[in-house]
Symmetry: D2
Subunit: 361 residues, 4 copies
């Protein structure tokens, strides 16, 4: 496993769905930065299960405990570690879980990779629950970035085949279903309900925008902003696609349409359009950074599925019981913000150095 | 700049378009692995300019010289370094190049990031020419993987809005225009010609498939195969989107459609479909790994464009002279193979350890 | 802070002396490896305070809780995290602690580096207490290595100016004062008592030997075994010197004396002497790896010392109260074993790959 | 092989003694920093062979060619690569070289590690010749540090059992035999001559001092200055010991003797003594950083030695022909400066960030 990320800011995520705890360590944060635990709790609540009809009804407190790294609510230069205790740990019937892998999950690949020694309960380390520590780390980074004038905000851009095509320029995080066009949002929710009613699930896309970035972040060829962001974003379970700016749509444009003309705005260089998503040559150009992540539909569905009994090496039907999110996209919105914030703060630390941050707040 | 990539296999790419040389170092290759320079030359030829009507007519020999790391045509355990001399180095008119940034290029971001000290000639380190050393590194990795039964092959999947929808199961590299459906290929070439005739350019997508992988490659959460591949693939200039398996299309499917049912084939576990692109939980599942990269249209176009004179901070029209590829996608095909091969060999080195490789050939 | 170490095996250490907890995450352990918590407890007991008259009387349970990474007592492929709760956390008088830095401690450098935001209580993240999580990580690695036939064992080689010159070929860990010559050990203990009686402290050296290593571990130039071991060993507080084989003494020998002649032993290549400490060109040669670390005397002493009041920028006498180890060397012995074991297991993972480890037990 | 080093500044060293070339890439240097090639040539001359009676008479031009990374004599933000062509490459009698390993060299360990595929000619990648690219990289870093007010300078502290005990406060680099006490230097040279006359060799120690460092460099626990410096310094062939400040001598002192009392000097906090070598808790304290490296005697000696014929697995006498340095310590002095400079500039880049460096000159 390599559940670590970052250069100057090093994130380590640990835990399994039903282990004693899950958590994270952020190593490399400058000292003196305030961490507002209330604000963090509000951020984490956006990812938490049991918020609405589309997420699992299992409700957990999920309040992180900071084990170290804080003194009087501020970072102290030492690694910042927070954990969330798992209240419903259960040993479960290991053998059964391991014998019949769920399609679309890591069950089979983990069984082979770890030679049967993996933790199969609740998805183990592959569980979507591991996005909780990602959101703790990201939530802390978001607070720091905010004070530097950098805002990171995401929204649901599509669910199934329903897209919200409205331009995305300001946060919609306060909405329970974070879309811009509420009409589109209604249709999306209807699509989720329809899938749920049939014991099925749907996927969607999340768009994320970052404003207030300096010109010059990102290092090429392999540490450009796209590479850095992609590396962490593909670490979110269920992400299967990623694009920056117009991305795949760019590949269908002419150069004359896709190039962003330079202009002068308020005495500074800007671009008239932003097809490139604020990144040229891997380096931020001062325009909003814009990316879109594609989430596959929740693999846990009520419908019967074909699997293989690994012990008998025979086909066997699989029926997944329990309640699962018919669509994880609404809860994925803060996860995308978190991952983006971590990658960006890491880049800013390399750009400005740790000394610089003592001027923040 | 961070032009280094990899864990167990560390790639370092260096050079600027008009510096004395460009090149690469691969550190971490086990000893005793044969490097066939003829085969490598054939691979590099696929990326080289001047191959057909769609690429720049500047023809360069581009034969790499191996400075070290080889003894009698085999790796010797020491870093492998190869360089390509730049024959047409030219100092050029720096000031002019820097004052008027080309839309869609790294000119402006580099100017700000490097405070005017960057190498602006021919795009400097941001030039597509830097994919030549990427292809040297990747070409070496491809040869090693091939002997381990792992094949990496890519093709043009679309140009502008013309897609080649044929399933991709075997290499088409021998074709001058590497598509599956020649009919689609004809339309694509017509689209490129049309753009070129209007002083414009087009983009497209490249699909890459990797067969013969063991089950179990990739480490989660942040070193899953998607993260590892994305990190290096977004290092190829002009890549703005990436998806694995059905990627963005997955986000529009139901779970029951997108989940790949398990079955037994030839006594081994397989999946009936491959929507996931051979990766579950970041780990290879033994099915073909499948990805698709989106390339934006070549930003260098003959049409007049709006720019800003950075000295005067005034709008100024820009006319780019010289010949440029109206579409870089055909030449990008081997670059995608190269990048994928490097990421995969790096993963295999961690998986098997260096000792294992002494059994290879 | 960068409290992370390792390539294939990544260690992250977190915590401050008086934070809620201290702990560690080991990411990259293959799955299926047994962790014997009883054996680990015995190992940790060797480092724990309050064992004898030379260590602080503060007795803590210091039993680690494994939060995740284990299933039924075996590693599961997910990161392994363990924490030790701090039972005597106390906010303390921050201002006073920070104003008057203790000579020989990190108080002053941390005050400047972290701009006053560091955790000053009990040394914060710089406390020797942070060697407890190092020993958890190292204790786990030692168990795994043992099963691979690799033994790591250390002993007190000198205290103050009293050396134990006996050759070190077998563990003496079961001794309460781990020396080979008990006569020398008696003199050492007398030296510690004498220093303690005068409100002073003494230092010493620890020798560590690793047997059973394969030929070929270590990667040059910068990941040779000396570099890898030195990187982690200098992370143990109070280590100010390190030598491999004869080290500094080698610098006074002739080449003809220092070169280790090759010979054949039991059908394998060996060396008649082992001045090089089992490492040639950064690579293990199959002979016992041998290193020696120099520990400075405990900086916390009862005697009055000169300091500077940082608020007033005036000289001020400092009197340190409380009980401190008059010599930390006895408790440092398992820390050196732990650090060495981590570096060696990391190297073996790169050498053999993770797959190889499934054959272990 | 892992011939890479560094975090924000990444050094990659490549080449073998008799390959086409040796060289280095430094990735991560900010743009706009002047590289004075004349000054660099003077620095490299101090390491070059053939300077005096103690070094091999083989005289090579060894002028580095910068392949890229410079524009008009200044760094341009792209990786900086320089190579030195090997003029006397020769294939040699591989089999003979490999069959009879030289004691004290990497011949045997490389033979086993690389399964016979290593480059055995002239020591291959393990040759002391690889310190030439280290000195190119270090020489560039030294120039940058100098302009920031940071000076790195080393001297011979001992040869065989003759020590130069004079305090080391100012550079003696201009001396052909860089010692402080010329009387001690005469005795050292006599010791080298005596060893040479007997077909033997001697070792010694090099002391290095760094002045002008800010308070606060270094990150703990594992990226403290000792760890960072040790990691690269043990990469210099023949280094077998390293100590900071009083190092091993500290282990024989009382705490009251070894602690450095704080005082106020010129309105700033200083220490009355500097036993700690300018590092407390892994972090620089503003006093001169001081370290000492132990070099073993040159393993290549004229005297007959015992080896083992690896083909026959029989003892066989070895006679090494050709001329070798009877003592490499004089030429090692700039290598220690180079390695230290690289580690320090890397730390400063993390501390200050790349943006900061645009104020330098």
């Amino acid at each position: 496993m390599s559940s670590t990320y970052g250069h100057s800011l090093r994130l380590s995520i640990f835990g399994q769905s039903h282990a004693n705890a899950i958590g994270m360590t952020l190593d490399g944060l400058p000292a003196g930065l305030a961490v507002d635990e209330q604000e963090l709790a509000r951020f984490l609540a956006r990812r938490a299960p049991g918020q609405n009809e589309f997420s699992t009804t299992r409700k957990e407190p999920d309040a992180p405990e900071f084990l170290c790294g804080l003194v009087n609510g501020r970072t102290c230069g030492a690694p910042l570690t927070a954990v969330i205790r798992n209240t419903n740990t259960r040993p479960g019937d290991y053998a059964a879980l391991r014998a019949l892998p769920r399609p679309g999950h890591a069950d089979y690949t983990a069984e082979v990779k770890y030679h049967g020694f993996q933790d199969p309960t609740g998805g183990g380390h592959f569980s979507g629950r591991l996005t909780a520590p990602l959101c703790i780390a990201g939530g802390v980074c978001l607070q720091i970035l905010e004070r530097m004038g950098v805002r990171v905000f995401a929204r649901i851009a599509s669910i199934a085949d329903i897209a919200d095509d409205a331009p995305f320029t300001a946060p919609v995080s306060e909405k329970p279903f974070p879309v811009i066009s509420d009409a589109a949002g209604e249709k999306m929710q209807a699509a989720i309900r329809a899938a749920k009613a049939e014991g099925d699930s749907v996927g969607g896309t999340v768009e994320c925008v970052v404003t207030g970035l300096p010109v010059g972040l990102g290092d090429g060829m392999f540490d450009g902003m796209e590479s850095r962001l992609a590396h962490i974003l593909f670490g979110i379970p269920a992400v299967k696609g990623l694009e920056f700016g117009d991305g795949f749509a760019s590949s269908r444009l002419r150069g004359s349409e896709n190039n962003d003309a330079f202009c002068v705005q308020d005495g500074r260089v800007a671009t008239r359009t932003n097809h490139c998503g604020g990144i040229l040559g891997g380096i931020t150009n001062g325009m909003p950074l814009r990316l879109r992540a594609a989430f596959k539909p929740t693999p846990s569905i009520a419908k019967a599925q074909e699997s293989v009994n690994l012990t008998a090496m025979q086909p066997e039907a699989l029926n997944i019981h329990g309640r699962h999110d018919p669509c994880i996209v609404p809860r994925a919105v803060p996860c995308v913000e978190a991952a983006a914030a971590i990658a960006i703060l890491d880049s800013m630390l390399e750009f400005y150095g740790t000394e610089y941050f003592y001027g923040i707040e």
